[in-house]
């Protein structure tokens, strides 16, 4: 047996890596909780970004895509990987096009593009409203082709239980469990790639699929891998609350004139159409007369959350939600412009949104943070192709790609950039791994005892859980309790007191999770025990999210802490306003010195340890994001003058090469 690589997770990132490795002649074991074609990537609707022939002629280029991504992420990313991704984006779309993705076409037969948030250009390629599904299928098909050639062996319905490391701390494989037969075995591998997506289930319900528990990343974390920026969680303003899942409702509903409202009177039980206009509170329109229902995403999310949680004006007594009302728009117009997304609402709510206002609420949507990974920059500030450091966790030989790494989206992800980061990181990691394997002894030559030891300790945990009849905790109820606590403290608005309380509570729940009693103690397709293990492993990540949020006394991107936000300017007198703007910029710079840092968490066996790490801003100097702030013009003016002065004094020095 020669060299082999184990890929865990078969979404876009895992499949891209598998395909590339097989192409480079490396046999791959591909392990997944579900048949890979059913991975969560299928849920992505909008599209995938890249500079293209059209936008280029309008003044766009790769650098601008890079700049938009960094600015959108509030400068929290190390810049070389993001630069490399933006420069690869056109090539990624060309590749997916060649693989047969049914991208929408222009009348002349070119790939059609649409515009997405956070940019001025039409960069987004799309395939109807199912772009993620189409991209995933194209990669799934190529991997199936390599499977028939014997280069890929799939292990579907297998649960990754953790990495195996040798005495030098190098990852040489993994332990996993067959979810049907419950057999636990080891997979010796010269490198292991974790591509297991986000951790939305830590928040109970989210827009994510049921497998997005974060347990695989947590098992790496507990084995010594670092987490980066775990506190950064994207919450989408409009989702359809469901008893089982929160399904996304596209922003275009508001773009086409949808109005958000609640009854002015709390617990008003009247049918929405029976509530007269004067008794309706169109809170976004009243509070933001200029932008109305189309305030930026983070603001809309915060306001809807606030109106339900703090003002008690939810339209449903049993669950929090507000009305998103389209009923004033003629049916024919709705069908023409919004047909697709209205059908989703109709299908899952059993209510026609053309007749009755939709009930929506923000929902946890994407994990910007994740496993900490390294990179090696090249001379132009991009990535050095083929470096084994790229996408490597701090455990040598253990790699992370896709949503489960922390690297590309900083404090906030731009729409249609996630599909790109998944495919890019999957393709880019492969040559580095080939080089890594050249310099290391094959895992198959290592002593068997190493692997047997790992299997036996996994078996021990499994058996102990099955035998725990005296336990008094129900894993399903505990999961609900965790989700409630996390949703309350660590989503839209964050407050130190609340975070501290939640941390103590979750720490206590973690203890209780050890006393989970199973309703199924059998050893055949036991979903009860697989779920219980996933729940237990949610706690280390949940605690890291809370700790990261607690230690970050600022507001940045998706992390909003009102007590530490920089205030708007108040004065109307020009001289006074100028003074306030100067002060604002001083505070902004001081804040960046303290918090323009990557959160790094390590696991000490009981709790996460927290530290900050400097960010590589070698290409773009951080600047304030001022969208929607009162006094933005004055602050911008001061900032421009300061930047010009700085550039003058530093002339030929390299700006901010800190990594």
């Amino acid at each position: 047996m020669g060299n082999r690589v184990l890929v865990v997770g078969g979404g876009l990132a895992g499949l891209a890596a598998t395909m590339k490795l097989a192409e480079l002649g490396v046999p791959v074991d591909l392990l997944s909780l579900t048949p890979v074609k059913r991975s969560h990537s299928v849920c992505a609707q909008g599209g995938i970004n890249s500079v293209n022939d059209l936008t280029r002629q309008q003044g766009d280029d790769e650098w601008k895509h890079f700049d938009d991504t960094i600015y959108g992420g509030d400068f929290l990313q190390n810049q070389p990987p993001v630069k490399e991704m933006a420069y690869w984006a056109p090539k990624v779309i060309d590749l997916m096009d060649r693989l047969g993705v049914t991208f929408n076409r222009t009348p002349e037969g070119f790939i059609d593009r649409r515009r997405f948030g956070g940019t001025l250009y039409k960069r987004t390629a799309f395939a109807g409203a199912t772009t993620g599904q189409q991209l995933l299928y194209a990669l799934d098909e190529q991997v199936r082709r390599y499977e028939t050639e014997g280069m890929v062996k799939k292990y579907e319905f297998w649960d990754f239980l953790g990495p195996i490391t040798d005495e030098n701390g190098r990852c040489v494989g993994a332990v996993a469990q067959d979810m049907v037969s419950m057999e636990i075995r080891s997979f010796p591998a010269d490198a292991v790639i974790v591509a297991t997506g986000g951790n939305g289930l830590i928040f109970g319900r989210s827009t994510m699929s049921v497998f997005c528990t974060g347990s695989a990343a947590s098992r790496c974390f507990q084995a010594g891998a670092k987490l980066g920026n775990p506190e950064f969680i994207q919450v989408h303003p409009t989702a359809i609350p469901g008893a089982d899942k929160l399904r996304l409702m596209s922003e275009s509903a508001r773009g086409e004139g949808g109005r958000v409202w609640v009854p002015r009177r709390p617990n008003d039980s009247r049918y929405p159409k029976d509530i007269p206009q004067s008794e309706r509170y169109y809170f976004l329109e009243e509070r933001f007369p200029k932008y109305g229902n189309l305030v930026p995403r983070d603001i809309a999310t915060r306001e809807i959350f606030n109106i339900c949680v703090n003002e008690g004006l939810s339209v449903d007594p049993t669950r929090m939600c507000v009305y998103l009302d389209l009923t004033h728009i003629p049916r024919a117009e709705l069908d023409r412009k919004l047909g697709g997304i209205l059908e989703i609402y109709e299908k899952f709510q059993g209510v026609d949104p053309r007749d009755e206002p939709m009930k929506i609420f923000p929902a946890v949507h994407y994990s910007m943070g994740g496993l900490w990974v390294d990179y090696e920059a090249n001379a132009s500030g991009g990535l050095l192709a083929g470096s084994p450091k790229n996408q490597s966790t701090n455990i040598p030989g253990l790699y992370a790609i896709g949503e489960c790494d922390y690297q590309y989206h900083g404090a906030n992800r731009l729409g249609a950039n996630s599909l790109l980061s998944c495919i890019f990181s999957g393709l880019f990691v492969a040559p580095g791994i080939v080089n890594w394997m050249k310099d290391h002894k094959a895992a198959s030559e290592l002593p068997k005892s190493l692997f047997e030891q790992a299997v036996s300790s996994a078996n021990e945990r499994h058996k102990k859980l099955l035998a725990n009849q005296a336990g008094d905790e129900n894993p399903y109820l505990l999961h609900q309790e965790l989700g409630d606590a996390m949703t309350r403290a660590a989503t839209v608005v964050r407050d130190n007191k609340q975070l501290e309380d939640a941390y103590a509570k979750v720490l206590e729940m973690q203890e209780r999770s050890k006393r989970c009693s199973l309703s199924d103690t059998g050893n055949w397709t036991n979903q009860n025990v697989i779920f219980t293990k996933a729940v237990q492993d949610m706690f280390p990540v949940a605690l890291s999210i809370l700790k990261g949020a607690l230690m970050r006394d600022e507001s940045r991107g998706a992390h909003f802490k009102p007590a530490f936000s920089l205030p708007s300017l108040k004065s109307t007198d020009p001289a006074e306003r100028r003074k306030e703007a100067e002060e604002w910029c001083d505070n902004f710079e001081a804040n960046n010195r303290k918090f323009l840092k990557t959160t790094v968490c390590t696991w000490n066996g009981k709790e996460p340890d927290h530290s900050f790490e400097d960010i590589d801003t070698r290409l773009l100097a951080p600047r304030p994001r001022l969208y929607g702030l009162v006094g933005a013009e004055a602050i911008e003016q001061v900032w421009k003058e300061r930047s010009a002065k700085k550039e003058g004094s530093e002339k030929k020095e390299l700006v901010g090469a800190s990594h």
């Binding site: 395909m19 009348p107 002349e108 037969g109 899952f348 059993g350 209510v351 055949w524 397709t525």
Partner: protein, 285 residues
């Protein structure tokens, strides 16, 4: 469809009765079991099963193992959660409790698909479905993933024809409804290795009917400018054992497809292509 101008919310039941056809493992007998869960607004069959898992108790209060089932995205794009609900094969995520109760107020009946081996309860083994995608080589045979520029120009018309076919999520509804697609379930022989058992399974699958989904995928790739370079290899599969000629034209597939994929159109295209291919092959000998 709900009537326009629905005036007031309907009266809701307090409890939902569920009857589940269970099976503890492959080859074991099936048995019915009754469960009862609290009603909540906006429930679907998935949330009913989640409640059943959490309480793990029958209507009579007997402690039982939670019901096993498969699910993923919960928004009808992943294809995981197919089962037979009140006698109809469909995705359980989009099976809304309110609608089911309108049709059949007394109880909801859940059964596993019958055309695939049951692993446990509502969990079935659909590996044959993915195997059939290999038989028809459902992929574009590109040189590789290195940067070779853009793909071929595709007209809007072609895209609009192919996009619906590319939405097939391999859920298996079309196979459950098909009178020609029969269950293939093998038992492991004593002392048989994993590899030997797997090989025997693959061979049995190779002889079975491909089914509407695989035929439709073959048509999708045969119409792609580069995909069609191996069209004749796909036609070999379509004209061989278990190929398109096995279709009995019952047209059940298209009626149950949750994505409304024009499966019968694909099958008709495949049938015509198969006739042409067979003639040509005969005269080219």
């Amino acid at each position: 469809m709900i009537a326009p101008g629905t005036e007031s919310p309907k009266r809701k039941p307090a409890k939902i009765n569920v009857r589940v056809l269970r099976q503890d493992g492959p080859g074991l007998p099936q048995y019915w079991e009754r469960h009862q869960v609290e009603y909540e607004p906006d429930m679907n069959v998935i949330s009913v099963l989640q409640k059943i898992a959490a309480q793990a108790k029958t209507t009579d209060g007997k402690k039982v193992n939670p019901v096993a089932w498969d699910c993923g995205c919960l928004e009808e794009v992943c294809g995981s959660c197919t089962m037979v609900i009140n006698g109809r094969v469909r995705q359980s995520c989009s099976a809304l409790v309110d609608r089911l109760m309108e049709e059949h107020p007394e109880e909801i009946e859940l059964r596993p698909m019958t055309k695939f081996p049951v692993l446990r309860d509502l969990m079935i083994d659909r590996s044959r479905l993915f195997h059939n995608l290999k038989r028809v080589k459902a992929w574009v045979p590109v040189d590789g993933s290195f940067d070779m520029g853009a793909g071929p120009r595709i007209s809007r018309e072609e895209q609009e024809q192919n996009y619906p076919l590319s939405q097939c999520m391999s859920c298996g509804c079309c196979l459950e409804a098909c009178p020609q697609f029969n269950k293939i379930e093998l038992q492991r022989n004593p002392g048989e290795t994993d590899e030997a058992f797997e090989a025997r399974k693959q061979k049995a699958y190779d002889e079975g009917f491909l089914g509407a989904h695989a035929i439709s995928q073959a048509m999708l790739f045969n119409s792609h400018p580069v995909g069609k370079n191996i069209a004749s290899e796909r036609m070999e599969a379509l004209t061989g054992t278990g190929g398109v000629q096995a279709c009995g034209n019952a047209q059940n597939c298209v009626a149950v497809c949750p994505k409304q994929i024009p499966l019968t159109t694909s099958i008709a295209r495949a049938g015509r292509a198969a006739t042409v291919y067979s003639f040509r092959k005969f005269f080219d000998r």
